[in-house]
Protein backbone atom coordinates (compact mmCIF):
# COMPACT_ATOMS: atom_id res chain seq x y z
CA UNK A 1 0.00 0.00 0.00
CA UNK A 2 2.70 2.46 1.04
CA UNK A 3 4.91 1.73 -1.95
CA UNK A 4 2.17 2.62 -4.40
CA UNK A 5 0.92 5.62 -2.44
CA UNK A 6 3.82 7.93 -3.25
CA UNK A 7 3.81 7.52 -7.05
CA UNK A 8 0.02 7.85 -6.91
CA UNK A 9 0.28 11.16 -5.02
CA UNK A 10 3.05 12.48 -7.29
CA UNK A 11 1.16 11.51 -10.42
CA UNK A 12 -2.00 13.21 -9.21
CA UNK A 13 -0.12 16.31 -8.11
CA UNK A 14 1.48 16.58 -11.55
CA UNK A 15 -1.92 16.12 -13.14
CA UNK A 16 -3.46 18.85 -11.01
CA UNK A 17 -0.64 21.29 -11.79
CA UNK A 18 -0.79 20.62 -15.53
CA UNK A 19 -4.57 20.96 -15.62
CA UNK A 20 -4.62 24.16 -13.58
CA UNK A 21 -1.90 25.80 -15.68
CA UNK A 22 -3.58 24.79 -18.94
CA UNK A 23 -6.95 25.86 -17.63
CA UNK A 24 -5.70 29.32 -16.68
CA UNK A 25 -4.01 29.64 -20.10
CA UNK A 26 -7.30 28.71 -21.74
CA UNK A 27 -9.02 31.33 -19.61
CA UNK A 28 -6.56 34.00 -20.76
CA UNK A 29 -6.97 33.07 -24.40
CA UNK A 30 -10.76 32.84 -24.10
CA UNK A 31 -10.68 36.49 -23.08
CA UNK A 32 -8.66 37.27 -26.20
CA UNK A 33 -11.02 35.17 -28.34
CA UNK A 34 -13.95 37.10 -26.98
CA UNK A 35 -12.33 40.48 -27.62
CA UNK A 36 -11.36 39.52 -31.16
CA UNK A 37 -14.73 38.01 -32.05
CA UNK A 38 -16.81 40.77 -30.49
CA UNK A 39 -14.55 43.18 -32.39
CA UNK A 40 -15.34 41.42 -35.66
CA UNK A 41 -19.06 41.36 -34.84
CA UNK A 42 -18.94 45.10 -34.18
CA UNK A 43 -16.94 45.70 -37.36
CA UNK A 44 -13.60 46.60 -35.76
CA UNK A 45 -10.30 44.80 -35.28
CA UNK A 46 -10.10 44.05 -31.58
CA UNK A 47 -6.65 43.80 -29.98
CA UNK A 48 -4.01 43.68 -32.71
CA UNK A 49 -0.95 45.51 -31.42
CA UNK A 50 0.85 43.10 -29.08
CA UNK A 51 2.45 40.24 -30.96
CA UNK A 52 1.19 38.75 -34.21
CA UNK A 53 -2.62 39.21 -34.45
CA UNK A 54 -2.56 40.45 -30.85
CA UNK A 55 -1.74 36.94 -29.60
CA UNK A 56 0.42 38.18 -26.74
CA UNK A 57 -2.32 40.46 -25.41
CA UNK A 58 -3.29 38.07 -22.53
CA UNK A 59 0.29 38.19 -21.19
CA UNK A 60 0.30 41.96 -21.20
CA UNK A 61 -3.13 42.09 -19.59
CA UNK A 62 -1.93 39.72 -16.88
CA UNK A 63 1.14 41.85 -16.19
CA UNK A 64 -1.02 44.97 -16.08
CA UNK A 65 -3.42 43.44 -13.55
CA UNK A 66 -0.54 42.22 -11.37
CA UNK A 67 1.17 45.59 -11.29
CA UNK A 68 -1.93 47.66 -10.57
CA UNK A 69 -2.37 49.08 -7.11
CA UNK A 70 -4.52 46.83 -4.92
CA UNK A 71 -6.99 49.23 -3.32
CA UNK A 72 -9.06 48.21 -0.34
CA UNK A 73 -11.78 50.77 0.39
CA UNK A 74 -12.16 51.91 4.01
CA UNK A 75 -15.74 50.86 4.59
CA UNK A 76 -15.51 47.25 3.43
CA UNK A 77 -15.89 44.27 5.74
CA UNK A 78 -12.35 43.02 5.27
CA UNK A 79 -12.43 39.24 5.94
CA UNK A 80 -15.28 38.58 3.54
CA UNK A 81 -14.02 41.18 1.06
CA UNK A 82 -10.81 39.19 0.72
CA UNK A 83 -12.47 35.77 0.93
CA UNK A 84 -15.06 36.42 -1.79
CA UNK A 85 -12.81 36.41 -4.89
CA UNK A 86 -11.04 33.32 -3.53
CA UNK A 87 -14.35 31.45 -3.26
CA UNK A 88 -15.31 32.50 -6.77
CA UNK A 89 -12.03 31.40 -8.36
CA UNK A 90 -11.71 28.33 -6.14
CA UNK A 91 -15.11 26.97 -7.16
CA UNK A 92 -14.35 27.72 -10.78
CA UNK A 93 -11.10 25.73 -10.60
CA UNK A 94 -12.61 22.91 -8.53
CA UNK A 95 -15.28 22.09 -11.05
CA UNK A 96 -12.70 21.18 -13.70
CA UNK A 97 -11.44 18.35 -11.47
CA UNK A 98 -14.22 15.89 -12.33
CA UNK A 99 -14.24 16.54 -16.07
CA UNK A 100 -12.80 13.80 -18.29
CA UNK A 101 -10.90 15.36 -21.19
CA UNK A 102 -10.11 12.32 -23.23
CA UNK A 103 -10.35 8.56 -23.64
CA UNK A 104 -9.76 6.30 -20.67
CA UNK A 105 -6.00 5.84 -21.09
CA UNK A 106 -4.21 4.47 -18.06
CA UNK A 107 -0.64 3.99 -17.01
CA UNK A 108 -0.19 1.56 -14.12
CA UNK A 109 -3.88 1.99 -13.38
CA UNK A 110 -3.67 5.77 -13.16
CA UNK A 111 -5.86 7.80 -15.45
CA UNK A 112 -4.33 10.45 -17.69
CA UNK A 113 -7.16 12.67 -18.80
CA UNK A 114 -9.21 13.16 -15.64
CA UNK A 115 -8.21 14.30 -12.20
CA UNK A 116 -10.93 12.51 -10.27
CA UNK A 117 -13.10 9.78 -11.76
CA UNK A 118 -15.96 9.15 -9.36
CA UNK A 119 -19.48 7.79 -9.31
CA UNK A 120 -21.19 11.10 -8.67
CA UNK A 121 -19.30 13.44 -11.01
CA UNK A 122 -22.44 15.12 -12.29
CA UNK A 123 -23.72 15.82 -8.78
CA UNK A 124 -20.35 17.22 -7.77
CA UNK A 125 -20.52 19.65 -10.67
CA UNK A 126 -24.00 20.76 -9.60
CA UNK A 127 -22.84 21.11 -5.98
CA UNK A 128 -19.85 23.26 -6.89
CA UNK A 129 -22.02 25.50 -9.06
CA UNK A 130 -24.47 25.98 -6.23
CA UNK A 131 -21.67 26.86 -3.78
CA UNK A 132 -19.98 29.18 -6.29
CA UNK A 133 -22.67 31.82 -5.86
CA UNK A 134 -21.24 32.73 -2.43
CA UNK A 135 -18.28 34.41 -4.10
CA UNK A 136 -20.55 36.86 -5.82
CA UNK A 137 -23.04 37.26 -2.97
CA UNK A 138 -20.37 37.94 -0.34
CA UNK A 139 -18.36 40.28 -2.56
CA UNK A 140 -21.42 42.44 -3.10
CA UNK A 141 -22.38 42.49 0.55
CA UNK A 142 -18.90 43.05 2.00
CA UNK A 143 -18.12 45.90 -0.42
CA UNK A 144 -20.58 48.10 1.48
CA UNK A 145 -21.72 49.74 -1.71
CA UNK A 146 -25.29 50.00 -3.00
CA UNK A 147 -24.43 49.04 -6.56
CA UNK A 148 -22.41 46.05 -5.43
CA UNK A 149 -25.18 44.89 -3.11
CA UNK A 150 -27.80 45.21 -5.85
CA UNK A 151 -25.57 43.26 -8.21
CA UNK A 152 -25.02 40.54 -5.63
CA UNK A 153 -28.73 40.27 -4.83
CA UNK A 154 -29.56 39.99 -8.51
CA UNK A 155 -26.88 37.34 -8.95
CA UNK A 156 -28.07 35.21 -6.02
CA UNK A 157 -31.72 35.38 -7.09
CA UNK A 158 -30.80 34.55 -10.67
CA UNK A 159 -28.55 31.64 -9.80
CA UNK A 160 -31.05 30.09 -7.38
CA UNK A 161 -33.86 30.38 -9.94
CA UNK A 162 -31.94 28.97 -12.87
CA UNK A 163 -30.25 26.19 -10.91
CA UNK A 164 -33.61 24.44 -10.79
CA UNK A 165 -34.06 24.46 -14.56
CA UNK A 166 -30.43 23.43 -14.99
CA UNK A 167 -30.71 20.47 -12.64
CA UNK A 168 -34.02 19.32 -14.14
CA UNK A 169 -32.69 19.49 -17.68
CA UNK A 170 -30.02 16.93 -16.82
CA UNK A 171 -32.43 14.31 -15.45
CA UNK A 172 -33.35 13.01 -18.91
CA UNK A 173 -29.70 12.23 -19.61
CA UNK A 174 -29.23 10.49 -16.29
CA UNK A 175 -32.31 8.36 -17.02
CA UNK A 176 -30.91 7.44 -20.43
CA UNK A 177 -27.43 6.54 -19.22
CA UNK A 178 -28.44 5.11 -15.84
CA UNK A 179 -25.39 6.61 -14.16
CA UNK A 180 -24.12 9.84 -12.66
CA UNK A 181 -20.55 9.08 -13.62
CA UNK A 182 -19.41 11.34 -16.46
CA UNK A 183 -17.42 8.59 -18.19
CA UNK A 184 -20.48 6.31 -18.26
CA UNK A 185 -22.61 9.12 -19.65
CA UNK A 186 -20.10 9.61 -22.48
CA UNK A 187 -19.79 5.84 -22.94
CA UNK A 188 -23.51 5.55 -23.72
CA UNK A 189 -23.07 8.12 -26.49
CA UNK A 190 -20.00 6.51 -28.04
CA UNK A 191 -21.07 3.57 -30.28
CA UNK A 192 -22.80 5.16 -33.26
CA UNK A 193 -21.14 8.56 -33.22
CA UNK A 194 -23.47 11.43 -34.03
CA UNK A 195 -26.52 9.14 -33.96
CA UNK A 196 -26.07 8.10 -30.37
CA UNK A 197 -25.20 11.51 -28.91
CA UNK A 198 -27.76 12.63 -26.40
CA UNK A 199 -28.53 15.67 -28.53
CA UNK A 200 -29.51 13.70 -31.66
CA UNK A 201 -29.98 10.04 -30.84
CA UNK A 202 -31.10 10.59 -27.26
CA UNK A 203 -33.69 13.19 -28.36
CA UNK A 204 -32.50 15.48 -25.59
CA UNK A 205 -32.35 18.64 -27.71
CA UNK A 206 -35.05 20.32 -25.60
CA UNK A 207 -32.98 19.53 -22.52
CA UNK A 208 -29.90 20.87 -24.27
CA UNK A 209 -31.44 24.25 -24.99
CA UNK A 210 -32.78 24.48 -21.44
CA UNK A 211 -29.33 23.58 -20.13
CA UNK A 212 -27.67 26.14 -22.38
CA UNK A 213 -29.95 28.99 -21.34
CA UNK A 214 -29.81 28.10 -17.66
CA UNK A 215 -26.02 27.78 -17.83
CA UNK A 216 -25.69 31.20 -19.44
CA UNK A 217 -27.71 32.59 -16.55
CA UNK A 218 -25.61 30.65 -14.01
CA UNK A 219 -22.37 32.08 -15.36
CA UNK A 220 -23.85 35.60 -15.40
CA UNK A 221 -23.11 35.95 -19.07
CA UNK A 222 -24.95 38.02 -21.61
CA UNK A 223 -27.93 38.09 -22.18
CA UNK A 224 -28.29 37.30 -18.45
CA UNK A 225 -25.52 39.61 -17.22
CA UNK A 226 -27.78 41.68 -14.97
CA UNK A 227 -25.50 41.33 -11.90
CA UNK A 228 -22.89 43.43 -13.68
CA UNK A 229 -25.08 45.51 -15.96
CA UNK A 230 -22.73 48.43 -16.52
CA UNK A 231 -25.44 50.85 -17.64
CA UNK A 232 -27.37 50.42 -14.37
CA UNK A 233 -24.92 49.24 -11.69
CA UNK A 234 -21.50 50.60 -12.79
CA UNK A 235 -19.79 47.20 -12.56
CA UNK A 236 -22.19 45.35 -10.27
CA UNK A 237 -20.74 43.12 -7.59
CA UNK A 238 -17.07 43.79 -8.40
CA UNK A 239 -17.31 47.60 -8.44
CA UNK A 240 -15.02 47.95 -5.41
CA UNK A 241 -12.41 45.42 -6.52
CA UNK A 242 -9.16 46.28 -8.23
CA UNK A 243 -5.98 44.61 -9.42
CA UNK A 244 -5.66 40.85 -8.81
CA UNK A 245 -8.88 40.62 -6.80
CA UNK A 246 -10.78 41.91 -9.79
CA UNK A 247 -8.78 39.58 -12.03
CA UNK A 248 -9.84 36.64 -9.86
CA UNK A 249 -13.52 37.37 -10.51
CA UNK A 250 -12.72 37.79 -14.16
CA UNK A 251 -10.87 34.47 -14.33
CA UNK A 252 -13.66 32.76 -12.39
CA UNK A 253 -16.24 33.96 -14.91
CA UNK A 254 -14.30 32.77 -17.93
CA UNK A 255 -13.35 29.56 -16.15
CA UNK A 256 -17.04 28.88 -15.56
CA UNK A 257 -17.69 29.50 -19.24
CA UNK A 258 -15.13 26.85 -20.17
CA UNK A 259 -16.58 24.41 -17.62
CA UNK A 260 -20.07 24.90 -19.00
CA UNK A 261 -18.71 24.25 -22.48
CA UNK A 262 -17.02 21.05 -21.23
CA UNK A 263 -20.17 19.84 -19.46
CA UNK A 264 -22.40 20.55 -22.45
CA UNK A 265 -19.93 18.64 -24.63
CA UNK A 266 -19.81 15.68 -22.25
CA UNK A 267 -23.53 15.46 -21.63
CA UNK A 268 -25.04 16.24 -25.01
CA UNK A 269 -22.38 15.96 -27.69
CA UNK A 270 -20.57 12.76 -26.87
CA UNK A 271 -17.58 14.20 -25.01
CA UNK A 272 -14.30 13.07 -26.53
CA UNK A 273 -15.87 10.52 -28.90
CA UNK A 274 -15.71 11.21 -32.61
CA UNK A 275 -18.89 12.08 -34.53
CA UNK A 276 -18.31 9.05 -36.79
CA UNK A 277 -18.42 6.56 -33.93
CA UNK A 278 -17.24 3.07 -34.74
CA UNK A 279 -17.85 3.51 -38.49
CA UNK A 280 -14.60 5.29 -39.16
CA UNK A 281 -11.33 4.82 -37.28
CA UNK A 282 -8.64 7.46 -37.25
CA UNK A 283 -5.99 5.13 -35.99
CA UNK A 284 -5.45 2.67 -33.23
CA UNK A 285 -2.83 2.57 -30.53
CA UNK A 286 -2.78 4.65 -27.36
CA UNK A 287 -1.15 7.76 -28.84
CA UNK A 288 -3.57 8.11 -31.74
CA UNK A 289 -6.53 7.44 -29.41
CA UNK A 290 -5.30 10.02 -26.94
CA UNK A 291 -4.64 12.60 -29.64
CA UNK A 292 -7.97 12.22 -31.42
CA UNK A 293 -10.03 12.09 -28.25
CA UNK A 294 -8.41 15.32 -27.05
CA UNK A 295 -8.87 16.84 -30.50
CA UNK A 296 -12.62 16.15 -30.59
CA UNK A 297 -13.09 17.33 -27.03
CA UNK A 298 -11.24 20.60 -27.58
CA UNK A 299 -12.99 21.22 -30.89
CA UNK A 300 -16.42 20.78 -29.32
CA UNK A 301 -15.60 22.96 -26.31
CA UNK A 302 -14.25 25.62 -28.66
CA UNK A 303 -17.57 25.53 -30.50
CA UNK A 304 -19.36 26.29 -27.24
CA UNK A 305 -17.00 29.14 -26.40
CA UNK A 306 -17.59 30.56 -29.86
CA UNK A 307 -21.34 30.31 -29.27
CA UNK A 308 -20.96 32.14 -25.95
CA UNK A 309 -19.23 35.08 -27.61
CA UNK A 310 -21.59 35.05 -30.55
CA UNK A 311 -24.60 35.25 -28.23
CA UNK A 312 -22.96 38.05 -26.30
CA UNK A 313 -22.34 40.02 -29.48
CA UNK A 314 -25.88 39.48 -30.72
CA UNK A 315 -28.52 39.52 -27.99
CA UNK A 316 -29.55 42.48 -25.83
CA UNK A 317 -29.81 42.10 -22.05
CA UNK A 318 -32.97 40.83 -20.36
CA UNK A 319 -35.08 43.01 -18.08
CA UNK A 320 -35.26 41.71 -14.50
CA UNK A 321 -38.93 40.67 -14.56
CA UNK A 322 -38.43 39.05 -17.96
CA UNK A 323 -35.49 37.11 -16.53
CA UNK A 324 -37.51 35.74 -13.62
CA UNK A 325 -40.59 35.04 -15.75
CA UNK A 326 -38.48 33.22 -18.33
CA UNK A 327 -36.79 31.06 -15.73
CA UNK A 328 -39.79 30.08 -13.65
CA UNK A 329 -42.68 30.15 -16.13
CA UNK A 330 -40.96 28.81 -19.21
CA UNK A 331 -37.76 26.86 -18.54
CA UNK A 332 -38.89 24.93 -15.43
CA UNK A 333 -42.21 23.66 -16.86
CA UNK A 334 -40.56 22.69 -20.16
CA UNK A 335 -37.81 20.87 -18.25
CA UNK A 336 -40.41 18.94 -16.21
CA UNK A 337 -42.30 18.06 -19.40
CA UNK A 338 -39.03 16.82 -20.90
CA UNK A 339 -38.44 14.54 -17.90
CA UNK A 340 -41.96 13.09 -18.16
CA UNK A 341 -41.75 12.46 -21.90
CA UNK A 342 -38.23 11.01 -21.71
CA UNK A 343 -39.07 8.64 -18.87
CA UNK A 344 -42.23 7.48 -20.67
CA UNK A 345 -40.31 6.77 -23.85
CA UNK A 346 -37.53 4.96 -22.05
CA UNK A 347 -40.00 3.05 -19.88
CA UNK A 348 -42.02 1.92 -22.92
CA UNK A 349 -39.28 1.10 -25.41
CA UNK A 350 -36.21 0.22 -23.44
CA UNK A 351 -35.83 -3.28 -22.00
CA UNK A 352 -35.83 -3.47 -18.23
CA UNK A 353 -32.54 -4.75 -16.89
Amino acid sequence: MDTSLIPFLLFNLAKVIVVVVLFLMCVAYTVLLERKLVGRIQNRWGPSRVGPFGLLQPLVDGAKLFLKEDLTPEAVYRPLYILAPMIALGCSLLSISVIPFGADIRWHGMQFFQISDNNIGLLILLGITSVGVYGIALSGWSSNNKYSLLGALRASAQVISYELALGLSLVGIVIRSGSLRLRDIVGVQAPHGLLSWNFFGGFQFVAFFIYLMAAYAETNRSPFDLPEAESELTAGYHTEYSSMKFAMFFMAEYGNMITVGCVATLLFFGGWTSPFGSYFHFGTGPIATAFFSLFWFVAKVFGFLFLYVWVRGTLPRFRYDQLMGFGWKFLVPVAVANIVVTSFCIGLWMPVQ
Binding site: S130, I160, E163
Partner: protein
Protein backbone atom coordinates in the same frame (compact mmCIF):
# COMPACT_ATOMS: atom_id res chain seq x y z
CA UNK B 1 -6.44 7.83 6.23
CA UNK B 2 -10.21 7.65 6.53
CA UNK B 3 -10.00 8.04 10.28
CA UNK B 4 -7.69 11.07 10.06
CA UNK B 5 -10.05 12.77 7.62
CA UNK B 6 -13.03 11.84 9.76
CA UNK B 7 -11.47 13.37 12.87
CA UNK B 8 -10.39 16.50 11.00
CA UNK B 9 -13.83 17.19 9.55
CA UNK B 10 -15.62 16.25 12.76
CA UNK B 11 -13.50 18.81 14.62
CA UNK B 12 -14.15 21.35 11.86
CA UNK B 13 -17.87 20.66 12.14
CA UNK B 14 -17.94 21.19 15.91
CA UNK B 15 -15.72 24.29 15.63
CA UNK B 16 -18.07 25.73 13.01
CA UNK B 17 -21.07 25.07 15.23
CA UNK B 18 -19.39 26.79 18.21
CA UNK B 19 -18.39 29.73 16.02
CA UNK B 20 -21.98 29.96 14.83
CA UNK B 21 -23.11 30.53 18.43
CA UNK B 22 -20.29 32.87 19.43
CA UNK B 23 -20.34 35.24 16.46
CA UNK B 24 -22.30 38.44 16.93
CA UNK B 25 -22.86 39.24 13.28
CA UNK B 26 -25.59 37.22 11.50
CA UNK B 27 -23.61 36.87 8.26
CA UNK B 28 -20.67 35.32 10.11
CA UNK B 29 -23.05 32.91 11.81
CA UNK B 30 -24.58 32.00 8.47
CA UNK B 31 -21.14 31.33 7.01
CA UNK B 32 -20.23 29.14 10.00
CA UNK B 33 -23.40 27.18 9.35
CA UNK B 34 -22.20 26.61 5.78
CA UNK B 35 -18.94 25.21 7.19
CA UNK B 36 -20.96 22.86 9.43
CA UNK B 37 -23.13 21.68 6.52
CA UNK B 38 -20.17 21.10 4.22
CA UNK B 39 -18.16 19.18 6.82
CA UNK B 40 -21.26 17.04 7.46
CA UNK B 41 -21.27 16.29 3.74
CA UNK B 42 -17.67 15.10 3.96
CA UNK B 43 -18.56 12.91 6.95
CA UNK B 44 -21.39 11.31 4.94
CA UNK B 45 -18.95 10.72 2.10
CA UNK B 46 -16.47 9.05 4.44
CA UNK B 47 -19.23 6.75 5.67
CA UNK B 48 -19.94 5.74 2.08
CA UNK B 49 -23.14 7.69 1.46
CA UNK B 50 -22.01 9.47 -1.68
CA UNK B 51 -25.41 10.56 -2.99
CA UNK B 52 -26.37 11.93 0.42
CA UNK B 53 -23.11 13.89 0.55
CA UNK B 54 -23.72 15.47 -2.84
CA UNK B 55 -27.33 16.22 -1.97
CA UNK B 56 -26.22 17.79 1.31
CA UNK B 57 -23.90 20.17 -0.56
CA UNK B 58 -26.42 20.99 -3.30
CA UNK B 59 -29.46 21.42 -1.08
CA UNK B 60 -28.10 22.69 2.25
CA UNK B 61 -24.81 24.46 1.54
CA UNK B 62 -26.00 25.54 -1.88
CA UNK B 63 -29.67 26.40 -1.96
CA UNK B 64 -30.85 26.84 1.63
CA UNK B 65 -27.83 28.73 2.95
CA UNK B 66 -27.78 30.98 -0.12
CA UNK B 67 -31.35 31.93 0.79
CA UNK B 68 -30.25 32.60 4.40
CA UNK B 69 -27.41 34.90 3.32
CA UNK B 70 -29.70 36.45 0.72
CA UNK B 71 -32.24 37.41 3.39
CA UNK B 72 -29.53 38.69 5.75
CA UNK B 73 -28.10 40.81 2.95
CA UNK B 74 -31.52 42.04 1.87
CA UNK B 75 -32.53 43.11 5.37
CA UNK B 76 -29.00 44.41 5.97
CA UNK B 77 -29.15 42.95 9.48
CA UNK B 78 -26.66 44.58 11.82
CA UNK B 79 -24.76 43.27 14.81
CA UNK B 80 -26.74 41.52 17.47
CA UNK B 81 -26.95 43.17 20.86
CA UNK B 82 -26.20 40.68 23.63
CA UNK B 83 -29.25 40.20 25.82
CA UNK B 84 -29.62 38.66 29.24
CA UNK B 85 -31.13 35.32 28.42
CA UNK B 86 -33.47 33.56 30.78
CA UNK B 87 -32.00 32.24 34.06
CA UNK B 88 -33.33 28.79 33.32
CA UNK B 89 -31.25 28.54 30.13
CA UNK B 90 -28.10 29.45 32.06
CA UNK B 91 -28.66 26.88 34.76
CA UNK B 92 -30.21 23.98 32.84
CA UNK B 93 -28.73 24.62 29.40
CA UNK B 94 -25.43 22.81 29.55
CA UNK B 95 -26.50 19.80 31.68
CA UNK B 96 -29.62 19.40 29.57
CA UNK B 97 -27.70 19.39 26.32
CA UNK B 98 -25.08 17.03 27.75
CA UNK B 99 -27.78 14.64 29.01
CA UNK B 100 -29.51 14.63 25.63
CA UNK B 101 -26.22 13.98 23.81
CA UNK B 102 -25.36 11.17 26.23
CA UNK B 103 -28.75 9.57 25.73
CA UNK B 104 -28.46 9.73 21.94
CA UNK B 105 -24.92 8.32 22.02
CA UNK B 106 -26.08 5.49 24.30
CA UNK B 107 -28.96 4.56 22.00
CA UNK B 108 -26.80 4.67 18.87
CA UNK B 109 -24.07 2.55 20.39
CA UNK B 110 -26.39 0.00 21.96
CA UNK B 111 -28.42 -0.42 18.74
CA UNK B 112 -25.43 -0.60 16.40
CA UNK B 113 -26.68 -3.45 14.27
CA UNK B 114 -29.58 -1.29 13.02
CA UNK B 115 -27.15 0.72 10.90
CA UNK B 116 -26.45 -2.25 8.66
CA UNK B 117 -23.15 -2.32 6.81
CA UNK B 118 -22.42 1.40 6.97
CA UNK B 119 -18.98 2.01 8.43
CA UNK B 120 -15.90 4.14 8.02
CA UNK B 121 -13.72 2.93 5.16
CA UNK B 122 -14.15 1.46 1.72
CA UNK B 123 -17.86 0.75 1.98
CA UNK B 124 -19.91 2.68 -0.60
CA UNK B 125 -23.68 2.80 -0.98
CA UNK B 126 -24.18 3.70 -4.63
CA UNK B 127 -26.97 5.90 -5.92
CA UNK B 128 -28.49 2.77 -7.45
CA UNK B 129 -28.69 0.99 -4.07
CA UNK B 130 -30.23 4.07 -2.48
CA UNK B 131 -32.92 4.47 -5.12
CA UNK B 132 -33.68 0.73 -4.97
CA UNK B 133 -34.54 1.09 -1.29
CA UNK B 134 -36.26 4.44 -1.76
CA UNK B 135 -38.59 3.23 -4.50
CA UNK B 136 -39.40 -0.21 -3.11
CA UNK B 137 -39.20 -0.53 0.68
CA UNK B 138 -39.66 3.13 1.56
CA UNK B 139 -41.93 4.17 -1.31
CA UNK B 140 -44.85 5.33 0.83
CA UNK B 141 -42.86 7.55 3.24
CA UNK B 142 -40.94 8.95 0.27
CA UNK B 143 -44.08 9.95 -1.62
CA UNK B 144 -45.80 11.26 1.51
CA UNK B 145 -42.78 13.48 2.21
CA UNK B 146 -42.91 14.89 -1.29
CA UNK B 147 -46.60 15.66 -0.88
CA UNK B 148 -45.79 17.34 2.45
CA UNK B 149 -43.23 19.57 0.74
CA UNK B 150 -45.72 20.37 -2.01
CA UNK B 151 -48.25 21.44 0.62
CA UNK B 152 -45.62 23.66 2.24
CA UNK B 153 -44.91 25.32 -1.13
CA UNK B 154 -48.61 25.90 -1.73
CA UNK B 155 -48.95 27.35 1.76
CA UNK B 156 -46.08 29.76 1.11
CA UNK B 157 -47.68 30.85 -2.16
CA UNK B 158 -51.05 31.35 -0.46
CA UNK B 159 -49.45 33.44 2.30
CA UNK B 160 -47.38 35.53 -0.10
CA UNK B 161 -50.25 36.26 -2.50
CA UNK B 162 -51.48 39.81 -2.48
CA UNK B 163 -55.12 40.41 -1.54
CA UNK B 164 -57.16 41.93 -4.34
Amino acid sequence: MHLALFIFFAVLCVAGALNLLLQRHPINSALSLIVVMSSLAVLYLLLGAEFLAAAQVIVYSGAIMVLFTFVIMLLNAGKEEPTHGSKLAYIAGFPGAAALLGLLAFIFISRREAFGQARLGDYIATTGDLSQVLFTKLLLPFEVTSVLILIAILGAVALARKEH
